[in-house]
């Protein structure tokens, strides 16, 4: 088994553990490269099906190409799709910076869709190599009644035994891609020929490396217009992946505060 085979097998194991142990699951489908890989892995794990809903936390501000991609693949992949409209900017924590407040709309949207549907488990396509705070995450990450992450007292997680027992009124975030790197994701997309939003490929010297909403995401300078070129670029770059995501960079603990409150 090579590295991609191992990652794939481990992710499938995680997806199947959650599906067996946790009632009422759903998957956040942000439509980015990672969440498309996650949907793909679910179809592998469950022999062609995604046996739980796929949710887009919709602020109305996604890039146009992202919406077009969604409309095509909801049908093509046979997804049980939930379009979760996020509450407005004015409902977010005013002590956050404006970039972070825009991001916090998703936190509120997530909280709402969990409450409305009674979900006990949410799959998210976050990875440890994306961001230092995310690198501290567990694969099965329990959340309190308010959706908060108690990062100072996380449960032990070893030998592939995950936390699947919880008090009522709490939920668990499940992270099947936690061990993948950005390059792993692209190599897997290449190997499996998984469709992605075309914005990842360079046009006129710019490409999106990470997709967020229109107002808080910027493209990066790049000439990588194919998957091979993206992989070659990533193998040597020292630019962080989320450099184009403005909300991370407002203060030392900007992202930590967002995540503690329940952001992805």
């Amino acid at each position: 088994m090579n590295r991609l085979d191992e990652l794939e097998s481990q992710s499938i194991y995680i997806l199947r553990e959650a599906y067996n142990r946790i009632d009422s699951l759903s998957m956040l489908w942000s439509l980015g490269k990672d969440s498309n890989v996650m949907v793909w892995l679910a179809r592998k794990a469950f022999f062609g099906r995604v046996p739980f809903p796929a949710i887009l936390l919709d602020t109305g501000n996604e890039l146009d190409e992202v919406y077009a991609f969604r409309d095509q693949y909801v049908d093509e992949w046979g997804l049980d799709y939930i379009n979760a409209i996020c509450p407005g900017y004015e409902e977010t924590d005013p002590t956050l910076t404006s970039n972070a407040r825009a991001a916090a709309r998703k936190t509120l949207g997530l909280k709402r869709v969990i409450e409305e549907n009674g979900f006990r488990g949410i799959f998210l396509g976050i990875r440890r190599d994306e961001q230092a705070v995310r690198s501290k995450e567990r694969v099965f990450s329990p959340r309190g009644e308010d959706g908060a992450w108690d990062y100072k007292d996380q449960p032990p997680e070893f030998w592939d035994q995950y936390k699947t027992e919880f008090p009522p009124n709490t939920h668990v975030r499940i992270h099947p891609l936690l061990a993948w790197t950005e390059v792993d994701i692209w190599r897997y997309i290449e190997r499996e020929q998984i469709p992605v939003v075309p914005l990842y490929f360079a046009k006129d010297g710019w490409r999106y490396r990470s997709l967020g909403e229109k107002d808080i995401t910027r493209p990066v300078q790049s000439n990588a217009s194919t998957i091979e070129e993206i992989i070659a670029e990533l193998e040597t770059t020292r630019e962080p992946e989320r450099a184009g995501r403005t909300m991370d960079h407002d203060s030392e603990d900007a992202f930590e505060r967002l995540r503690q409150a329940g952001y992805m």
């Binding site: 590295r3 097998s9 792993d184 020292r238 030392e252 930590e256």
Partner: protein, 642 residues
């Protein structure tokens, strides 16, 4: 920091294919410089993101420190403020040969559970020791935990050599101390390195301050560790993770923990001891493979439909896992409440969950001296050897022969409180005592023959299998028939949901699989009653002909005429109108799923031995018809005559 020019040239690494990934955990006493070493490695391999060095300088200055490398890893505000690592983190970098993911594990004793979470997945470990402070409590404890977690490749790194004037003597003394400790655990370090992480001595480039040392640098040592792979060459173990019926296939899903599985293999399920052949390996968007190896998550279909549930372990018939209800464990404890003999915990071993009781604490191990002592409880952060007992028989492995199915975690309520590895030394494999294998089944002739029983009872034994819709009157008729037969001197007994679900089938729910198994067990139990000379009446909806045929097969092993299928008939509308338990109402509202007649099919018997129509006939008439049938088929001549 000045060594930038001498960094290895990482631009020459291959990027055209995925490289090896070495998972490496860095452990050691708090403040001995774990995070500093990692920060320095990132810097020396050009792995710090653009602008990170500047950011670290600013953050360090803000806290009145000189450049603090560990801030590269300590992501939480609280970690930077207290300059300690709270939770394990992971960070990637490239050596010329491979990718390395470094797991930075907290050194603080109170964060043991986080250290374990980081270290358990590692291929290799770096044990960092402060040259000035020497071996400390957590140095030894972490060494011990590496041993318990099964990390066998260890590099001992003596850090802060600058604080002891780069003394070869001091390095030699420390190395002697730590290697003799590790030797007590059966661990032999792969590398012993003197370094100064802050200044980069022997990290990525050989130190000019320690010319007496001619071994590898830290980076070179990383390239010499082995990346561990799943044990393909060992006996097959495939713990059942789930059973799917998304379409007409019934797919058993799980991950192969060791060995190889091929289509056509004969498999043994433990502890149920069922034997069945693999029909195929299933796959989506790919050709079905003909074999699969350790490490792969697979789905298989079987030649025969047998009842299988999560937690069973699939092996080949040769080399199966031992079965036991008692075992010894080397245990590390993380619970806030101490482990005490007599307390019950939930055990998770691969996909199996079972209740176990801590029976005896054999010894508590002082991780400082490795000296065993006795004790009546195991406190948080201690390690011990404990005997556990389970009520059910478990399929387990010896940790030292098959690690992945020989280790377990314990839960107390919602929380994981411990982890352990299994030793069966001194405990026999209970498999032989528990099973009659198809290879050595000899039916033992009972001293008392069926004929003698029938002569004494005045009737032969048999099974009257009542089938029909809920509300058709199966139980009512069964009870009345039983009462009248008993009065007539018959040996008679009724099996119904009430007495069977309470004990024999208490572990079964209402999924389609579990219903099938419920009926299978009833069929087997009824056959035993028949063999014992009883008239056994069963009252179950039993909607599927296949299930009833299997019950017939079981009874026919006793006597070819022992099984009589009796269709207790009433049309659905009548049954729904009666609705004695309110079940139809719940089924109509969707509260009960898969309800026979409403949301699940009923297959009427093709050729029942008797049909009674409770919709059009009175209970008395139906009872009389059944008793007449019994007298004609089971009663000895003398009795029916009298």
């Amino acid at each position: 920091m000045e060594a930038r020019a001498a960094k290895p040239n990482i631009q020459q690494i291959r990027t055209d294919a995925p490289r090896d990934l070495l998972k490496l955990v860095v452990v050691g006493h708090v403040d001995h410089g774990k995070s500093t070493l990692i920060g320095r490695l990132l810097y020396d391999t050009d792995s710090l993101p653009e602008g990170k060095l500047e950011e670290l300088k600013v953050i360090s200055q803000r806290r009145g420190m000189s450049l603090e490398w560990s801030f590269a890893l300590d992501a939480f505000q609280a970690e930077r403020d207290q300059a300690i690592t709270i939770d394990t983190t992971q960070i990637w970098f490239k050596t010329p040969k491979r990718d390395v993911v470094i797991i930075d594990a907290p050194g603080h004793r109170e964060f043991l559970k986080n250290m374990v979470s980081g270290a358990a997945a590692a291929d290799a470990a770096v044990l960092v020791i402060d040259a000035a402070e020497g071996v400390r409590e957590q140095t030894r404890r972490h060494g011990y935990l590496l041993h318990l977690l099964g990390v066998r490749q260890v590099a001992v790194v003596v850090n802060k050599m600058d604080l002891v004037d780069y003394s070869a003597q001091r390095f030699g003394d420390l190395v002697h101390e730590v290697t003799s400790y590790l030797a007590g655990l059966g661990l032999e370090p792969s590398f012993l390195l003197p370094i100064s992480a802050r200044d980069g001595d022997n990290v990525a480039v050989p130190s000019t301050n320690m010319s007496w040392y001619d071994g590898p640098t830290v980076l070179q040592a990383f390239d010499r560790f082995h990346v561990l792979t799943a044990p393909v060459e060992q006996p097959l173990r495939l713990p059942v993770q789930d059973v799917y019926h998304f379409d007409d296939r019934r797919i058993i899903a799980g991950r192969i923990e060791s060995g190889i599985l091929r289509a056509g293999d004969t498999l043994l399920f433990s502890p149920s001891n069922k034997i069945v052949k693999v029909r195929a390996l299933e796959a989506w968007n790919a050709e079905p493979p003909i074999e699969a190896h350790a490490g792969q998550s697979v789905g298989i279909t079987l030649e025969e439909q047998i009842f299988v549930e999560r937690g069973e372990v699939i092996s080949h018939v040769e080399n199966p896992p031992p079965l036991t209800s008692v075992f010894r464990a080397s245990l590390f404890w993380m619970g806030h409440t101490p482990l005490e003999p007599g307390r019950r915990y939930k055990l998770k071993l691969a996909t199996k969950e079972a209740n176990v009781t801590a029976e005896t604490i054999e010894r508590i191990i002082d991780t400082d001296s490795l000296a065993p002592r006795s004790g009546d409880k195991v406190e948080r952060n201690m390690v011990a050897e404990v005997i556990f007992r389970s009520r059910e028989v478990l399929a387990v492995d010896e940790y030292r022969s098959l690690a992945r199915t020989g280790r377990f975690v314990l839960l107390d309520g919602y929380d994981t409180v411990g982890g352990g590895s299994i030793s069966l030394e001194g405990y026999p494999d209970q498999r032989d005592a528990l099973t009659i294998r198809s290879t050595n089944v000899f039916s033992v002739e009972h001293g008392v023959t069926g004929t003698s029983r029938a002569e004494r009872n005045g009737h032969t034994g048999g099974v009257l299998w009542f089938t029909g819709f809920s509300g058709a009157g199966k139980s009512t008729l069964a009870m009345e028939v039983e009462r009248r037969l008993f009065q007539k001197g018959y040996q008679v007994y009724v099996l119904d949901g009430d007495n069977v679900r309470r004990g024999l089938n208490a572990n079964l729910g209402f999924s389609p699989d579990e219903r099938a198994e419920n009926i299978r067990r009833v069929g087997e139990a009824a056959a035993l009653f028949a063999d014992a000379g009883f008239i056994c009446i069963t009252a179950f909806i039993s909607p599927y002909q296949a299930d009833r045929d299997r019950a017939r097969g079981a009874a026919q092993r006793v006597d070819t005429n022992a099984f009589h299928e009796i269709h207790v008939h009433a049309d659905l509308a009548t049954c729904e109108e009666r609705d004695p338990k309110g079940l139809y109402k719940k089924a109509r509202s969707g509260e009960i799923r898969d309800f026979t007649g409403i949301s699940a099919p009923y297959e009427p018997p093709a050729a029942p031995e008797l049909t009674v129509d409770t919709g059009n006939e009175s209970v008395d008439d139906c009872v009389a018809a059944i008793i007449g049938h019994i007298e004609r088929n089971f009663t000895m001549k003398e009795r029916s005559g009298g």
